[in-house]
Amino acid sequence: MAENGIIIKAVNLTKKFGNFVANDNLTFEVRQGEIFGFLGANGAGKTTAIRILCGLLKPTSGQIEVAGYDVYKETEKIKRNIGYMSQKFSLYEDLTVWENFRFYGGIYGLSGKEIRKKTGYLLDKLQLTAARDKIISSLPLGWKQKLAFSIAIIHDPKIIFLDEPTSGVDPITRRQFWDMIYETAHEGITIFVTTHYMDEAEYCERVSVMVDGKIVAMDTPRALEDKYHVETMEEVFLKIARG
């Protein structure tokens, strides 16, 4: 399903906070339907970059387009076409599953009918239809995470940004979560994911590795492993990080 269209394009993306350069001339492209991994240690500048791409932060300089829209002028349009999920899951714990769906669908301007239809479809896919009227705080972590992901795609975004979506989640749940990501990518939705779990990096089609605000490597995991003559992304990362 994936086309070869470029859906995220960044040329010399730079973000400075005073004298501190958080993102230093990042240049990369992401294709539609691709699972693009954005790797780096904590503080490498991943979150800053993702916030810029989501329209939450204005870049200091650089030319950036997301879903075909300019991040300086068309943040409004960008926001309509992206989904976002952070490590905190972003569900309201004191609301029921359905109330969360209804609320998030509502803020993206979906009609009541569309929300009901979409919620039914997504819950069915997760096999969580029975949990529709349960309060979120009563659900296990893995369910919450899947629900958060489903809610992030309720408005059929072109791109979904996942900011460390699996931190603090057990390996089995992580594995299931990645199955969901694959499925979504197969439907043509682009996945832009940051993580510091290097085993997860293997699941990505392409990855970029950030160190101190700069992109120091970018390719498929296999190509990077070959390039550094190692077996896993973990080792690739260690080699890069140690310079």
Partner: protein, 365 residues
């Protein structure tokens, strides 16, 4: 937008603490203040300084002392003793009959009784003075009913220590102020801080909603709830404690709305500088609640404060709001008399709205 408000109400209704603050507090506060501030007098200790000692003053003294409200503590003989007796805390009121009372009444048809009360408890003081004056008036009417000439016994009240009687006398304006501040500022700042803490704020900001829509969606439910609370307090005050509303109810509610909006913008401002619910709560408590209670003139009369604090009280929005509410409720004045206070409050509101919106936007950058 509708969905936003529904969601906000669900948060409130599912949280026991919020519900208690929202619906328990007003009732409890009104009842506590209402009942602890006694409105009845029984056996209040007084002193009498009778400079005339004629049959009328004796008769009047007897009448006052036999009323059941007053108990004679001391017969004074000299003015100098008054201050002393008050300071010793033995008495709450001194009644002074002027020299030649009966003679003056007969010849000039005008005699004076001076009533001095300890107004450090202003509520009590005004009650005592009113009761005394009432008894005197009663006596006058009984005695001189059939005489057409105007005969007058004038009671001159004097409030010691707190001449303006500005204080707890009417607790309703104070309770309204505190609760509106609490609900509007504290609850909104906590609810916004909670979204930040849970990470849902990020998702809202990534959504196509404009910051101003998020703000309005967050605060609108609290406007409504605060408003309902204000009405509850007024009703409780009216039905349980007979606190009247002399002025226009519409004007009163409009002023309440203005104050609510002011407090909400303060709440938003607090939430922009605090990242957790705890911080938001502590900041609301110390930056808003304490000054509101202590400096607004609700409990401690502003006139009695040191100059610096008096000056500080001018920048307390609640001070102006209490003046407005007291004037409308107790004196029944219209906007013409309180336009100055209203203007000050409006300007403050605009400043806070401006500040908080600006701050909220900066945070997005």
């Amino acid at each position: 937008m509708k969905g936003f408000i529904i969601k906000e109400f669900l948060h409130i209704f599912r949280d026991v603490r919020s519900m208690i603050i929202l619906f328990g507090m007003p009732v409890v506060q009104v009842l506590i203040f209402g009942f602890t501030i006694s409105t009845e007098i029984k056996d209040a200790e007084i002193a009498i300084l009778d400079q005339s000692k004629d049959n009328i003053t004796l008769e009047l003294s007897n009448k006052i002392l036999s009323s059941g409200y007053f108990l004679l503590n001391d017969n004074l003989t000299h003015y100098d003793q008054i201050e002393e007796s008050f300071k010793a805390g033995k008495i709450k009121e001194v009644i002074i009959f002027e020299d030649g009372f009966a003679r003056k009444l007969e010849k000039e048809h005008d005699a004076h009784i001076k009533v001095i009360a300890d107004a450090s408890d202003p509520n009590m003081a005004s009650l005592l003075v009113n009761y005394t004056a009432g008894i005197v008036r009663n006596y006058q009417m009984q005695q001189y009913e059939n005489i057409s000439l105007p005969i007058k016994i004038t009671t001159e009240p004097k409030m010691l220590y707190n001449p303006g009687l500005k204080s707890v006398f009417m607790f309703v304006p104070g309770v309204i102020t505190i609760l509106l501040m609490l609900i509007s500022a504290m609850m909104t700042s906590i609810s916004i801080a909670r979204e930040k803490e849970l990470g849902t704020m990020e998702v809202l900001l990534v959504s196509p909603l404009k910051p101003i829509q998020i703000l309005v969606g967050k605060v609108l439910p609290y406007v409504l709830l605060a408003f309902i609370n204000a009405i509850t307090i007024l009703l409780l005050g009216f039905f349980v404690f007979d606190v009247p509303i002399q002025g226009s109810i519409i004007l009163l509610l409009a002023e309440c709305l203005l104050f609510i909006i002011m407090a909400l913008s303060l709440g938003i401002f607090i939430s922009t500088v605090s990242n957790t619910q705890q911080t938001a709560m502590m900041m609301s408590l110390f930056a808003l609640m304490l000054p509101t209670i202590l400096l607004s003139g609700f409990i401690y009369p502003i006139e009695n404060m040191p100059e610096i604090l008096q000056w500080l009280s001018h920048i307390m929005p609640s001070k102006w709001f209490i003046i407005i509410v007291k004037n409308i409720m107790l004196k029944g004045v219209g906007l013409g008399y309180i336009w100055k206070e209203t203007l000050i409050l409006t300007v403050m509101t605009l400043i806070f709205i401006g500040l908080s919106v600006k701050k909220f936007k900066i945070r997005l950058e």
